[in-house]
Structures are given as structure tokens and as C-alpha cells.
């Protein structure tokens, strides 16, 4: 008899909804700890104050980026580059040591999915109840539960959007504007946009973001090697799998009782017993689930565990496996990362809260003024990046008789910048015709070490 084969296969399939079962255990506790940690920072950080201003505020309109005691200007973009390099290197390091730690514990997609799943579980109940509820035809109770769930999700999502926007526009003002329904159009748009993204990604898209949309999920497998800790099913110990029965002789069976818990708890719906798969976000739910079962059947824990390819092949002890974490690749990542972090810290510590740009007048090259003296004109863009009002003294050196004509002091408010035209003069015959290197120095009066030197040229013709 022939099996009926469909004549054609659809290349776009409807999704199968995944109902992850709740897990408890050592790793689940860690994951919740990180949910709390990251969300306390995110939701709470916007409300901190520092020197009568919001502690963390990215003021795009005024191009000032406040992080605690630091004020970054667009000219400080190097620190952003360094931050991104640190992030990338940390990712390399963590992934080389223990796989997708970021995905499993700290990625916002994982964290918000975790929160939304918790809400879902609180309202609709455990996995079985949720599956049954979705199968049921619509009835009053189902409608009520679904409404409650979505209302809770939307509330969390809107609060998330509000908090996000609160990092770009002062959150306290934003809050009162929202209460008065007077938030600006862009603020409203971004609150709704970010809220919608949270609601859609954590409520509906979930694992599909990881499997279909996230590029990092795909390229990190290139950072794995045979000594990378990944979530592994110990097939040698587990197989052949099978359910136990008291009467039968179970000795030929491995430790896997084929209960299916590891599949039920998986947020991406895979079976870890098939080996490492690209969908695995390294969340360790299957480890906690399996350990629970092993405890109940009286077998040792760790049928599914963090292990490495080498550990399984060569039967390494856990201590040997961990020792291999200190391999050259990891040490190189770690030392480069440490060097950059230390360098960035020193750079931030030694940062001078003053920036000066010198722009020489281009069209008017040099002019002769009273007494045959030669004058060049410069624009000095002086940026006081400190938050205190300061007075700066401008001076120039590099040519005999070089002096500033007119005022040489300028007063600036905190985090303000000003363009100051500066005229430099030399006596006739002070130097030959041509281009001469000179140097401007701008120093804050009464603030030791706050000085910037900038090179320029003086032209005599």
C-alpha cells in the first residue's frame, strides 16, 4: 500500500504555538535573578537623580548625554565605540566559555518573554490549562482570561515604552505630560512604538525572534569550539530511552525515562536529546526539568547538563572540563577585554572637561593692520563640558611677538559652548613670509589641569 504523499510542500508554514511548562531549580533561580537585576536597572535607572538632574538622560535635542557624573558630547563618540567593542569582546568571551549565556539569561527578548510567560501562567494557568483553554471554543471565562492577560501585557509594555522614552526626555516631566495627555507627538509615537515592540515580541513573536530574526543567534555558533560549555544531553547515559515499569526488567534501558519534560519546558520547542541545535538559546530550562525527574526516579542528576564536546568524547571529569575553559582563545579574549576596560577607565578618569576646536578664517588669509602688523583671524569653538560655570584664558604661542588683539578671557556656563573670534598679531618682520605653526592654549581659571592645546597655523604674506 502506498502512503499518500502531498504533491507539493508549502514553504511558508503556520507556526505551532509553544506552551513552555514552568520550571524550578538552580538555573531557573539564576534566570529570575537576572530578570530582576536587569529590570531593576532598566525601570529604576530612569528615576535616579544626580546634581538636580536626571542621572541617566540622553538629551538628543541638546546633544548632551548624561550618565551619572559624566556628561558626554557628540565629540565623545569614541567612548561609544569603546563601549561597543567591550560589549562585542564580552560576547566573544562568554560565548567561547559557556555558549549562549547572553541569550539564555540577559537578552531582553528572553527577559521580557519570561515576564510575559509569568503573567500568562498567573492568569491562564499551567501548560495543560493553557493548551486546553486555547482549544476550547470561545466562552465567557475564556474571553475574560484572554482580556485580562492582554490587558496586563499591554500595561507592562506601555510602562516599558514609557521608561524607554524616559531615558531620552526627562521622565518626571514626561510622566506629568502623560497624565495631562499633553505628551509631544514624537514622545507618544516612541512610547507606543516601543510598547508595541515589547508586546509583540514578548507576547506573540517570542522564540521566532530568536530563530528567524536575530542575527546573533546564527553567527555565535562560529564562536563555539569543542571545549565550549553547551547544554548537552548525555546520550551514552540516557539511551536507550524508555518508560519504566516496575515488573519488567529495565536494566537494558538508559537513564532517560522519556517523560518529555525537557521538550515541554523548552521555550523554543526543540528536543535537546537530538543534540545541539541552532534554536537552543541556552536557557537551561531542560536541565532544571530533567534534574527534577532524575531526583524522583532516583538516578543521579545531570543527564542533561552544561558539558563540552570534548568532555563527552573523552569522558573528562567536571574539574578537567572546567580547567579547559582556560584555553588560549579564552585567555586572549579575556586579556584584550581587560586591557580595553582598563584603558577606557583611565581615559574616562583623565578626561578634561573642556574641548576646543580652532578654525582658521579661510577667505581672509592675513591682513595688515596699523603699524604694518600682520593679523590672522581664528574662530575658537570653546566647549565647557563640565557642569559648572567657568572662565577660560586664551593664549597663543609659537612666533616671536605673537599676541592676542583684544579680549583673551571668555566666560561659559556649565555644559555650554561658544564661538569666540580671536585675532592674533605679530610685529612687522617678526617672521618670514609663509606658514608658521602656532599653538593655542585654553585653560580654565581656578581649575588646575583643565587645559586644552590646539595646533593651528599663522600665515604671513
Amino acid at each position: 500500500m502506498k502512503v499518500a504523499v502531498p504533491a507539493e510542500i508549502r514553504l511558508y508554514a503556520a507556526d505551532k504555538k509553544i506552551y513552555p511548562r514552568a520550571v524550578h531549580g538552580w538555573f531557573a533561580a539564576w534566570r529570575w535573578l537576572l530578570v530582576w537585576g536587569t529590570q531593576l536597572v532598566f525601570y529604576g535607572g530612569a528615576w535616579l537623580t544626580w546634581n538636580d538632574r536626571q542621572a541617566i538622560l540622553f538629551d538628543i535635542a541638546h546633544r548632551k548625554f548624561y550618565i551619572l557624573g559624566l556628561v558626554f558630547w557628540p565629540q565623545d563618540v569614541i567612548y561609544l565605540a569603546v563601549l561597543l567593542i567591550i560589549c562585542a569582546l564580552s560576547l566573544f568571551l562568554f560565548t567561547a566559555v559557556a555558549g549562549r549565556l547572553w541569550c539564555g539569561y540577559a537578552c531582553p527578548q528572553t527577559v521580557y518573554t519570561e515576564i510575559f510567560l509569568w503573567v500568562e501562567r498567573m492568569i491562564e494557568g499551567e501548560r495543560n490549562k493553557r493548551i486546553r483553554l486555547d482549544r476550547d471554543p470561545l466562552h465567557v471565562r475564556k474571553a475574560a482570561l484572554k482580556t485580562a492577560k492582554h490587558a496586563a501585557w499591554i500595561a507592562i509594555a506601555l510602562w516599558t515604552g514609557f521608561t524607554f522614552v524616559g531615558y531620552f526626555t526627562p521622565i518626571r516631566e514626561l510622566g506629568s505630560e502623560m497624565l495631562a495627555l499633553a505628551a509631544g507627538p514624537w514622545e507618544t509615537f516612541w512610547i507606543l512604538f516601543y510598547g508595541f515592540a515589547t508586546y509583540g515580541n514578548a507576547g506573540w513573536m517570542r522564540e521566532q525572534v530568536c530563530t528567524y530574526m536575530c542575527p546573533y543567534a546564527r553567527f555565535q555558533s562560529a564562536m563555539f569550539d569543542k571545549d565550549t560549555l553547551v547544554i548537552t544531553y548525555d546520550a551514552k547515559r540516557g539511551e536507550p530511552r524508555g518508560a519504566r515499569s516496575r515488573s519488567a526488567d529495565d536494566r537494558h534501558l538508559g537513564d532517560c525515562v522519556n517523560c518529555g519534560i525537557c521538550v515541554q519546558v523548552c521555550p523554543t520547542g526543540i528536543d535537546i536529546r537530538n543534540g545541539l541545535q541552532y534554536q537552543c538559546i541556552g536557557c537551561t530550562a531542560c536541565i532544571d526539568g530533567c534534574n527534577d525527574v532524575m531526583d524522583r526516579v532516583g538516578a543521579p542528576r545531570g543527564l542533561i547538563r552544561y558539558s563540552t564536546q570534548n568532555a563527552l568524547e573523552r569522558h573528562l571529569t567536571p574539574a578537567q572540563t572546567l580547567a579547559r575553559a582556560l584555553r588560549p582563545r579564552v585567555l586572549v579574549y579575556a586579556s584584550i577585554l581587560a586591557a580595553i576596560v582598563i584603558g577606557a577607565a583611565i581615559g574616562l578618569y583623565a578626561r578634561v572637561p573642556l574641548k576646543v576646536d580652532v578654525i582658521r578664517d579661510r577667505a581672509a588669509i592675513a591682513r595688515e593692520v596699523e603699524g604694518g602688523r600682520i593679523e590672522n583671524v581664528y574662530r575658537l569653538q570653546i566647549m565647557n563640558t563640565a557642569e559648572a560655570k567657568r572662565t577660560f584664558e586664551i593664549s597663543a604661542a609659537g612666533l616671536p611677538t605673537l599676541e592676542i588683539a583684544g579680549a583673551s578671557r571668555v566666560e561659559l556656563e556649565g555644559t555650554a559652548s561658544r564661538m569666540v573670534p580671536v585675532r592674533l598679531r605679530v610685529q612687522p618682520g617678526a617672521a618670514a613670509a609663509g606658514t608658521h605653526r602656532i599653538e593655542f592654549a585654553v585653560s580654565a581659571i581656578g581649575a588646575e589641569g583643565v587645559e586644552v592645546r590646539e595646533k593651528s597655523v599663522f600665515i604671513i604674506r
Binding site: 504523499v5 502531498p6 504533491a7 507539493e8 510542500i9 508549502r10 514553504l11 511558508y12 508554514a13 503556520a14 507556526d15 521566532q208 528567524y212 578664517d361 579661510r362 577667505a363 581672509a364 588669509i365 592675513a366 591682513r367 595688515e368 593692520v369 596699523e370 593679523e375 583671524v377 581664528y378 574662530r379 592676542i404 583684544g406 579680549a407 583673551s408 578671557r409 571668555v410 566666560e411 561659559l412 561658544r418 564661538m419 569666540v420 573670534p421 580671536v422 585675532r423
Partner: protein, 309 residues
């Protein structure tokens, strides 16, 4: 030139655009199923034996593709895109520019306008107006007159009290609004080589510069007959004509016999462009006040105290 006038090309472009969009849809539809029984890989192989499974994508992904097709069709109805069809919204680039300019004027106009009714002498002493004026000056004037307004050879110094066309607020405003054209005719042919030299030495004597007294004496009657019409009998200039004062030590085009000789012989046409077409009256008002303040010795926007204070 037929390609710019014939309707054919409009239709041609429109047709290709529409056909391409629809073809995308057909292509997508064709590519979303495949025959069963074939190998379940994409058919691509790397590194000898690495192949890629051809697993189904989520269905919402296909919808996104169809959505882009729907979007492009709606877009083409609303906006110009199909040949000469203008779209139902009537959007144009020029219209958008005008709209944005209007919005910007509505937002920033009041900042300029609040000074428009005040006299220049008052605005010139206002620190905020001066800061705005400085920015306008740096954008529109500093290229020639230098960032400090001190000018350069051929470009007048605006910070002294010496004015070609007058230094009253009204005169400065007229210079900025309508521009100025300073013309001195070439007199080399009329005066001859020796005559030109004689006149140059007389001009040198007016400002007390070193000169040849014989040439000066010969040059005086030539000056009175040829130059005095514009520069005045005493050489003090005439701001109505933009004729410079020759009796001070300020030389726009250079001092010394050679520079003056060249000026006399070859004449000069020196232009300041009009700004009325791209600066609003309110901005010109602020700019006038700033330039006026430069010659009055206020240093508001510089924010700088004199050294040692």
C-alpha cells in the same frame, strides 16, 4: 528631445513599474510551494558536504512580502511615481520644502521678529540679539569680512569708524539689503603714465604718507580736475558714491605707491552682494545691529572681559 515631451515614456515607466510589482507577487506565489519528493535542501553545498535544509519559513514572513507589494501599490496611488501621474495627495518636493520652511519660520520667526520693531541702537546693545547677530554674521558675512568683522584686503573692516557707504544704521542696513557696487574708472589712459604717478603722490600726501613733493605738486591740479568729483576736493571721500576717504591711513586695496598707482591706472569694481533675497527683513535687522555694534565698540556676544580684569 522627444523623450522629454512624448507621453510614451511616461506610460513606459508606469507600465514597467506596475508589471515589476505584480511580477514580484506572482514570483512569491510560485516560490512558496515546491514539489514533494525532492531533496529537502536548498541545493547549495559548501565545504564539500555542508548543505542547507530547506525548512519552511513562518507564514507571517510571506505576509510581510505581500504587505510590501500592497504598500507599494498604495504608495503609487498616493504619491507621484508612475510616469507623470501626480498622485492623489498632490505631494511635490517643492511643496514639502515650502511646508518645512513655513513650519521653521513659524517656530523660529518670533525669535527674530521680537527685535524687528526695536531701533537698531537698542538692539545693538541687547546681548541675546547680539548672539543671534553673530551667528548670522558668521554664516553670511565672515567669509569675506572675517570672523571678527575686521575684513581683509578688498573687504572692508567693519569694526572701525571708517565707512565707504556710511556707518549709520540706515546706511548699513541698505548695504546689507541691496548690496553695493563700488566702481572707480580706470584713469591710466586719461592721465598718462607720468600723470598717474603724480596723482598717486598727491594721494599719498593726503594721508601724510611719504611722497615726492615735486610729483605731489604736479599731481594736485590733476587730482582736483579728475578725482575730486568723487573723492572730494580735500580727498575725504563721499559715502553717497562709496568713494573712500583718501586722507586717513586705511587702505582697502593696499597702501604705498605701487598699490595706489595700480588703482589709479586700472580702476576697480568692488561688489558687495545683496542679501534681501535670502535673508528676511527681521534677520537683516539683527545683522545690521550686530555690524553696527562692531564699530561702536560693544563686545556683547564675545562675552569676553578685557585682559587683566
Amino acid at each position: 528631445m522627444s523623450q522629454f515631451t512624448s507621453d510614451f515614456w511616461d506610460l513606459y515607466v508606469a507600465l514597467i513599474s506596475l508589471a515589476s510589482i505584480l511580477a514580484c507577487g506572482v514570483f512569491l506565489k510560485m516560490q512558496s510551494v515546491r514539489k514533494a519528493g525532492e531533496v529537502d535542501t536548498t541545493g547549495h553545498t559548501w565545504d564539500e558536504d555542508l548543505s542547507e535544509l530547506d525548512n519552511p519559513l513562518p507564514r507571517w514572513w510571506a505576509w510581510l512580502f505581500y504587505l510590501t507589494i500592497a504598500f507599494s501599490l498604495v504608495y503609487l496611488v498616493l504619491y507621484p511615481g508612475l510616469g507623470s501621474y501626480r498622485g492623489t495627495l498632490g505631494w511635490t518636493q517643492v511643496g514639502q520644502l515650502e511646508e518645512e520652511n513655513k513650519a521653521a519660520n513659524a517656530e523660529f520667526g518670533p525669535i527674530y521678529d521680537k527685535f524687528a520693531s526695536q531701533p537698531i541702537e537698542v538692539v545693538a546693545k541687547n546681548a541675546e540679539a547680539s548672539a543671534i547677530g553673530q551667528k548670522l554674521f558668521l554664516n553670511h558675512c565672515a567669509q569675506c569680512h572675517a570672523s571678527d568683522g575686521g575684513g581683509s584686503r578688498g573687504f572692508p573692516n567693519l569694526t572701525d569708524k571708517d565707512w565707504l557707504w556710511g556707518g549709520t544704521p540706515e546706511a548699513i542696513k541698505a548695504s546689507i539689503t541691496n548690496g553695493r557696487m563700488g566702481v572707480m574708472p580706470p584713469l591710466g589712459a586719461a592721465l598718462g603714465e607720468q600723470g598717474s604717478k603724480d596723482v598717486a603722490h598727491y594721494v599719498l600726501s593726503l594721508s601724510g604718507s611719504a611722497n615726492d613733493s615735486i610729483r605731489k605738486a604736479r599731481g594736485e591740479p590733476l587730482f582736483k580736475s579728475t578725482c575730486a568729483a568723487c573723492h572730494g576736493a580735500d580727498g575725504k571721500g563721499n559715502p553717497l558714491l562709496g568713494a573712500p576717504n583718501l586722507s586717513d591711513a586705511i587702505w582697502l586695496h593696499g597702501s604705498g605707491e605701487q598699490a595706489i598707482l595700480e588703482q589709479v591706472a586700472k580702476g576697480r569694481q568692488n561688489q558687495m552682494p545683496a542679501h534681501k533675497d535670502f535673508l528676511s527683513a527681521a534677520k537683516i535687522h539683527l545683522l545690521t545691529a550686530y555690524v553696527y555694534s562692531l564699530s561702536q565698540g560693544y563686545s556683547l556676544s564675545q562675552g569676553a572681559a578685557p585682559p587683566g580684569k
